[in-house]
Amino acid sequence: MKNSTILEVERLAVRFGSAEVFSNLTFQVARGSSLAVIGPNGAGKTVLFRALIGVQQYAGSVRWTPGTKIGYVPQKLDIERDLPITANDFLRARTSVACASRDEPLRVLARVGLEPALLDQQIGTMSGGQFQRLLIAFALIGHPDALLLDEPAAGMDAPGQEKLNDTLRSLQTDDGVTILFISHDLSVVYGYASQVLCLRRGDSRMGPPEEVLTPDRLKEIYGTPIAFHIHESNGN
């Protein structure tokens, strides 16, 4: 593995019984880059992330550079409203397991733009956007080298999504964190990702957004013409 490569995936395949989710998936991720994973529903995007973090059985190989610390932000979680667990309980639990500094909860909360007052709020009573940002804050404890985010902007309003994009960009540029994210928002993918992995049963491809997100290629992936807006302010 090259020094500049943080992740190498070779001939990765996942099956559920007789049903193949994807197979023969090979790609590399450069340290400090951002990889967007796109594809239609059922293409196996979440399954791919589960394989990358080691909670999904697979064939082939997934090799992270030794010592890589991974943070994972799952898709929307279903939390009971009356669960007596506060944001502070949740972040402190991670701090304790990671043997991190006691100031970490406040640092990571500020990093994702949440107020310290939120620490006393029960996680089940938070809005979707607040909880999503709390999960990102949680993943940042212990200074991860790579962050995997499964549809991080789902359930967020437009300003929240903007803030999230700014946070991720700053993590990548200021802290050198490698970002892997799943998204259905092709405008965000086009403006933010260094590489795009199009996951599609039997035919997955990877490349820079301007090569992969072409009208013809998108029609092949999704089976229907897809249009998206390119923000003028976007671009790396």
Partner: protein
Amino acid sequence: METRALVLSTEMAVAAGTVGCFAVMRKMTLAADAFSHVALPGIGLALVMRLNPLLGAVAALMLGALIIWGVENRTGISTETITGVVFSLALAIGSMMASGEELIDALFGAPGALSNTEATVGLVGGAAVIAFMLFARDRLLISMVSAEVAATSGINVRRLNLAYLAAFALTVALGLRYLGVLLMGSLIIIPAATAKRIARNINGMLAIAVGVSVASTLLGTLIAASIHRPTGPIIITIAGALFFLSLAWR
């Protein structure tokens, strides 16, 4: 009540309160209650073999925990479903093995002097459960929110689940003398359910669950001794009354 019985029942109640908090938050309420019945065939077998019933109960509960954990990991079937099957089977086998007064004692708990084996297993087992819950509290909390997030936090979720089931099984075994097979699961669940309604954070929940569990156990044991009735039903009646009182709290 003799001193060691007082210490033992308090320790059992503390273990039940803390273990119960995570059972309730993990939505294992019914499974947790049913799980305590798994002790019955072990008690029956121990009585047939003229061994201490407590040892039979511990063995059966640990085996039950291993079966539930193994089938869950292998098949992905929920804890609730597997526990339902294992519990029904255990109750059927246990009822065939034990009979008459022995069965009533096993089902509802029996007052009387503690044997040295019971006292030793109880004290060591109770301390082990409480130490485990203090150590694993943060890991259990994270894995309850998301198993994937726990895995990327360096937590071995499968091993943690097995250890938790073992702690649960041991807690049930500790309380069998006082509450019996039918009601021990209730002492794990009811104080925690009460605490979940009132508490604002995890420390509050643990403290309230332990408080309700200890108060119900000690008060119930004292009342049972003074009116010469089995301890289990009285302890659970008190815990149940506290739960209904808590409904008026928020």
